[in-house]
Symmetry: D2
Subunit: 446 residues, 4 copies
């Protein structure tokens, strides 16, 4: 089974597999086998012992539940796992059992195994990220000249294009991915320090064994970092940052999908009771991730103040947090990628929503046109009066302005008409859109 | 399987069972069966339909993985569950299928099922809490006159008794449990509101059906509270508060267990590499819980700002958080209860640590004895000089003070000797200890 | 000056005053004066010393900046404050200086002073809470039969009344206030334990001096609780819970105030550039508080794992968090109370938004009416087809249903017309509204 | 006044100045003056207006309290500030008032001003960081061969050098600073988008005006990013990460400074009542910062899900969080830098603490020496028996091992003696130390 009902919205199948018991056990056993192999190559343990350890580690019938239970006594799953592996090695060859886990400490295998899983998760996320940003870029290009209301504090503001909005989503996603991608890369290092981080049991060979081990596991070498968790914390923080960028998209889409706004719709899901409904379910999953991630970050950060060479409490808090952070990010990403790829956009409703404001969103523009001739105070007064007239009478702002002789002296009927054309008040929207689309995460699309 | 390797330190077997897929499915199916039953009793649906729904809901072969997967499309597991149940009812009796989930909404079943699980978890926690506070009370009584260093900012301060320290742990645990217990009780209410919280599909019968349903499920009745999550949030916040009280105990024990301090030891766990070690593993598990809980609270609280009648994002974030909070609390509690029940205490080391200060912890006392006769400034100067002499020469504070003629004029040799007796400088320790032990959580020990 | 520009949205004038330097100094000096007074009454220090300490503590020209700076060396403002007070006493009467701060520790004055401020803040919040709930209750009563769309996942659902929505806001505010009010009350206790929590310097008189001191300061007596912070943490957590209830109101109002929805408007604020705008500024301030509070809670909770008799780090983190929590809550409360008291409600827009759905929100109802006769599957199919026809043709759901002969056989034209009347599908809305309004916080309105 | 009593441990004088009312007002007024200047240069507003705006903005007598108060009505201080500036311009020259804040929006000035302050804060932090890492490097070099206990889960483990421990602190500080430094640099961009982020009021000139404005303010140009807060969030997250690295140092020092451990001492602060005490006050301030920061991050991250073109709530939450994050980081840094620069280290106590273990920390080593000849099980049994004998009798591990004939057959007396020499069991400590010291933050020390 790859996921739990209770966490169903907080992961994906692919990521739940990566952090499953089978996968975690496999990564830990692979560490032990690789350790034995490189130690045998370095002449530290007998080659035969390495072979037998590898053989014992190859099987998949270790009992995760028994290990999980025993872990509560030693505050780490590594100890019962190493014991189980040692027992298995003993049954094959008693003397080889001496060399299991040689020179390593429990945290070495736990941390390194987790980083192997994170590296794999990085690859899964990357695929979905590429899907997402490609869809965002297409959306932006397609709607480069689709005008819609800008909205500030949830109120109508001067117009934008939907292409610009999508480009903003794109650029934030790319910038955040660049951080996350870099964080994954920097964190993909071996943990190998032995009991106190000196690799004492390996004499002077420790660092070279560590480098060989890193190579075997597909990780980069690193000095032991048992109580220095910044690289891992960076992955979690960057995951949250990235998820926030995705959740912002989801919030915007969910708001645009309101019946009263009706500017876009995700394919969505239904209701258990209301046949007519089409819910922003993909947005909901993404927003739920956005809600949960900051707490995960704060928990992981709070655990970073770790004592001396290995901590009591801080480290033991990490596994569920790291796995949760990455899976939650993946759930958000898979959901929003699907939302964007299948998003329906309704330009005519966007236009209708502009029209429904009767042009009062152009009050700023009117004010700017009037200010140089009439001064700030007068311009503002005249525009405010016109806005009020428009609100009362249902006239457009242009019509209401025209009723003021002072305005009519400054602005021609043509200018007043032009005032109301959203296309004529987009400023540098297209230049900015292109600039935003030029944001690339070198690593994201290679 | 009741737990996952990655979460192994963050739950207990009993709680992992409660929040397992099987248990969650059971609670949801029980809701649907009970709903049909009370609606039949109220004459809203045919009795036969209720029977068949109950029959279909009784089996245990619903597929949690399929439901979990489908849940991602609708942003709730309720919808695929209701569909699966409806399909099953249809195969027994087509016409009864019309009455599955009658008048309820997806959140009704999801919330109510979670609260049934929480009520069960409450019972599990309560047993461990009683174990813990009984052990703390015994420990406090046993060590009512065991003197030890008070320690402030991790530095030696005036003496206390270990009985007082344990009574402080006890009182905080009891106060926090009272909050948590009350929070669980207040939250054990039905969720039943239908699509928009008006129970529209049930006409005027909604509230009475809701009360009957609550009774069936062992929950209290309540007006629909779809987007008002305070009761649930209170459970999570109180869990964190309670866990913090437990983690404070764990921190103290882990500090006392340092080899250099050596005043207490938990039975603890071993090391994967160092045979000699005895680790504060129980404290580590408890402290890890203490590290993680505040983040869970902040995430749940952040999700409380829920839109209108049902939210997009906030609600969907809750399940993993609530289940995590309760399981983490249970893990901390089970661990620290075991630590306290089996704690070894070393009064002689406590005494030795006092002696090792050479009496300079009584500097405050000396100062207080001297101040009335000599004034604050002079008293402070003389004591500081004596402390300095003691530090340099290794003499006790009493000996160092005796060397000052000004002190010798005020304090007799007997007074100076008495000055160094920790038992004579315990102030109201025993009165305070008894007051702390009189803290009772009416609900905790009934 | 009572507030800082950077925090301007995160406090109110009244609360900024309470947590100002002048107010904090006053509370600390009052503690020292009261301590001397009760110790003189108990015959522990000379009455004259108490008088002179009181006299010295009465002046307002202590230098907060100098104390703040010196505090960084000792990690508490109490030490430089006591030194400054002692110096001042010395200049009046050298011998009285010996008795300043007699038997107390720095944390005693710091904690007790903070609790005096919190008690005062409690009173300020209470006034605004009463304003808020009275306004909510009126709003609910006034709109008991104002129908509007229920909205779930930001999509139109079955209708509710605005009175019901306001009653939900009211009940959550009352429940949360009950928690917060109780938390403030429980926390309003003295801190008085001396160096290690035994009051050693006062011999057996400590507890009675503590009780007298509590009485003087308007606090309840309590055993020393230096490293047991649950009562204070409860205030902060309950503040956040309460703020979340307020922010939920703000979110709903801001959403209703969208131009495209237009169902309500707060008096609001303007824009620096757009004359036409009316922003939900009060909602923005309340929502900002809702965003920040969960982080404050998590920080305070993280600091609760405090070492031994007084902590290194956890305690020192608290002051800014506690003051921030209470001021932020007050800012949210003042803002939303003003929003609700001056809220404009537009029932005709509510009705128009229902009408704009063409009745498809009654699809659930249609389905329920059809299911008993036609079975779930057929009923659902027919309703879905009608919804689709309605969406395509612009016909109402009733009209679209009428086109189906199968439906026409079951539902009469009268029934179909009735189907579309929102008033006829409010279920138990009014009963639930009244139940919600019966939520009272005994303490809130006394 | 540059700081508040309540926040006294959470800032430094230099940083409190930067985020003071005067400084914030100055940054906002400088923005408005620079905007007018570049707009005049671009021929958008009259040069005379720019001069008069600059003249009006130059004075320092704007009233921050009045602006703070008014800000609560509009949910931003920008609006009352612009109004105040406009009034002032009007009194000089009525017609110039038309051109104040031309084309900008309130968030443009608020964000840009904050970033100017952040850039300044970056410089302040950098100086202290350089002090810190230089002191850490010296400490590490000085104690390259000072042996001490490694400690895992607060229990004695195999030996390390203090130089290695200090190098671990150094490397984490450098890595975290590199992140923080990069985050500050990336965030130092202009915010300039006008009402909806299109710079509509400036037509096609917006982007070039924006670039010129950025240049004037010492910021980098950027496309408008009103609701995309990742760069700013990165500063806050990196601040927390960096603070955690500092707090880890503080925790270690505070633990080493325990009387029973006695391996190091900071110069520290005193106690209000206990003359003898020397507290780890600097560590306390740093740890307090470490406690608070994760909550600040979670709050800021939670506010990132911002609606459309400008948000209601998320943005309004930021100012206090950003200012708090940077000041708290600075407080932690200033404190720990002072701790490290003046740290007293006691190598003889380090050695004594090793000796006090009676050599049982070398059990791992003994086991490793015995395993190849005797097999894992036998080796482990013999070592465990020896550890037990050592614990009971007070004999050293070597002596206890010697009593076993099986051990004596394998290990010579010389080997047994060597077994107990910590210097002989440091593994690759020195190689690792040098590797850690080679971590450089290119930007940190330039």
């Amino acid at each position: 089974m790859t996921s739990r009902l209770i966490d169903c919205l907080a992961t994906t199948d692919a990521l739940a597999d990566i952090f499953s018991d089978a996968s975690m056990l496999r990564a830990m056993l692979d560490f032990e086998a690789a350790l034995a192999r490189v130690e045998a190559q370095a002449g530290i343990i007998p080659p035969r012992a390495a072979d037998i350890i590898a053989q014992a580690a190859r099987t998949d019938d270790f009992d995760p539940l028994a290990i999980a239970r025993a872990a509560r006594q030693s505050a780490t799953p590594s100890i019962p796992l190493v014991e189980a592996l040692t027992r298995r090695v003993s049954t094959i060859d008693e003397s080889s059992a001496a060399f299991v886990h040689w020179g390593a400490t429990s945290q070495d295998v736990a941390d390194s195994a987790m980083l192997v899983l994170l590296k794999r998760a990085h690859g899964v996320l990357k695929e979905d990220h590429v899907r997402l940003v490609q869809a965002l870029r297409s959306l932006s290009d397609k709607h480069a000249s689709t005008v819609m209301l800008g909205r500030t504090l949830l109120q109508p503001a001067t117009p934008i294009t939907f292409g610009l909005k999508a480009a903003g989503w794109y650029a934030a996603a790319e910038r955040s991915w660049t951080s996350l991608h870099g964080a994954f890369d920097s964190a993909a290092v071996i943990q190998f320090g032995g009991a106190s981080g000196t690799l004492a049991a390996l004499g002077q060979d420790g660092p070279s064994v560590g480098r060989a081990l890193a190579h075997e596991l597909g990780l980069a070498p690193a000095a032991p970092w048992h109580t220095h968790r910044d690289r891992l914390a960076n992955v979690v923080a960057s995951s949250s940052l990235y998820t926030a960028a995705l959740a912002k998209i989801a919030r915007d889409v969910a708001l645009m999908m309101q019946a009263e706004v009706g500017e876009a719709a995700e394919s969505g899901g239904g209701s258990s009771t209301m046949t007519h409904k089409r819910n922003p379910s993909g947005c909901a999953v993404t927003l739920a991730a956005g809600v949960r991630m900051p707490g995960v970050v704060s928990a992981l950060f709070a655990g970073m103040i770790q004592e001396h060479e290995r901590s009591v409490g801080g480290w033991q808090a990490e596994w569920p947090l790291v796995a949760d952070a990455v899976q939650t990010t993946g759930a958000a990403l898979a959901s929003i990628a699907q939302v964007i790829e299948t998003l329906e956009v309704y330009p005519e409703r966007m236009r209708a929503n502009i029209d429904a404001t009767n042009g009062i969103i152009f009050a700023e523009r009117a004010s700017i046109l009037l200010r140089p001739s009439l001064g700030r105070a007068t311009a503002q007064r005249l525009v405010e009066e016109a806005v009020k007239r428009s609100r009362t009478s249902g006239a457009t702002l242009a019509e209401a302005l025209k009723q003021s002789p002072e305005v009519a002296r400054v602005l021609s009927p043509g200018q007043l008409e032009e005032l109301m054309r959203p296309e004529a008040y987009l400023g540098a929207a297209e230049m900015i859109r292109k600039e935003l689309l030029s944001t690339t995460s070198a690593h994201g699309l290679d």
